[in-house]
């Protein structure tokens, strides 16, 4: 079983601050996804990164895939209360017909106004 560790587990910051959350593994993934989940709802995809070293930006969110495709980071600039939620990373190590998408345990982010 692949293992994805996310850190920190909990993060509480003031509006306007910057933050970075991390997703680390000893395993190589063919792609990695980041999802955000709000209370009482299912996760919603933010981004998929595929190439080692890839950087993708989504407004104030910057995602990076590690060169070795074993880790990823999510950086949020000038956080807003609307960014509050559970951030999940998911690494894909599927082979053949067997689907293998491993989810991290998540980072619970709270942005205080």
């Amino acid at each position: 079983t692949q293992l994805l560790e996310q850190s920190p587990q909990f993060l509480s910051i003031q509006e306007g601050e910057n933050l970075t959350v991390y997703c680390n593994s000893l395993s190589v993934f063919s792609s990695l996804q980041w999802y955000r989940q709000e209370p009482g709802e299912g996760p919603v995809l933010l981004v998929t990164v595929v190439t080692g070293g890839e950087v993708k930006k989504l407004k104030r969110l910057t995602f990076q895939f590690g060169d070795a495709r074993k880790d990823s980071s999510l950086h949020i600039t000038a956080a807003q209360p609307g960014d509050t939620g559970l951030y999940l990373c998911a690494g894909d190590s599927s082979s053949g017909s067997a689907r293998q998408l491993t989810f991290g345990s998540g980072t619970q982010l709270t942005v205080l106004p």
Partner: protein, 113 residues
């Protein structure tokens, strides 16, 4: 466009009872999945399906069964409920298999007493 619809949203079961969680998607996706989410544990794959009539086990299939008679529906059956099955269950679907975005339902919170 409803996306992925799960019912019921909440259910309390007694030990030994059985029930079916319903999942329907209207996006004509071939790939469908059932996950369970426990606090601090991320999402664990129970079963998945790559098309009507084809299902396969995920990481934690024991105590569950699935069927896929149509593209739209992917019900999850719990036989002889146990307290360890207390969790939030999410159904998801995707268009692509390997790097495809997962579209999640809103979840079904199950408590076994």
């Amino acid at each position: 466009n409803a996306g992925v619809t799960q019912t019921p949203k909440f259910r309390i079961l007694k030990i030994g009872q059985s029930m079916t969680l319903q999942c329907t998607q209207d996006m004509n996706h071939n790939y469908m999945y059932w996950y369970r989410q426990d606090p601090g544990m991320g999402l664990k794959l129970i079963y998945y399906s790559v098309g009507a009539g084809i299902t396969d086990k995920g990481e934690v299939p024991n105590g569950y069964n699935v069927s896929r008679s149509t593209t739209e529906d992917f019900p999850l059956r719990l036989e002889l409920a146990a307290p360890s099955q207390t969790s939030v269950y999410f159904c998801a679907s995707s268009y692509y298999y390997r790097t495809g975005e997962l579209f999640f339902g809103e979840g079904s919170r199950l408590t076994v007493l």
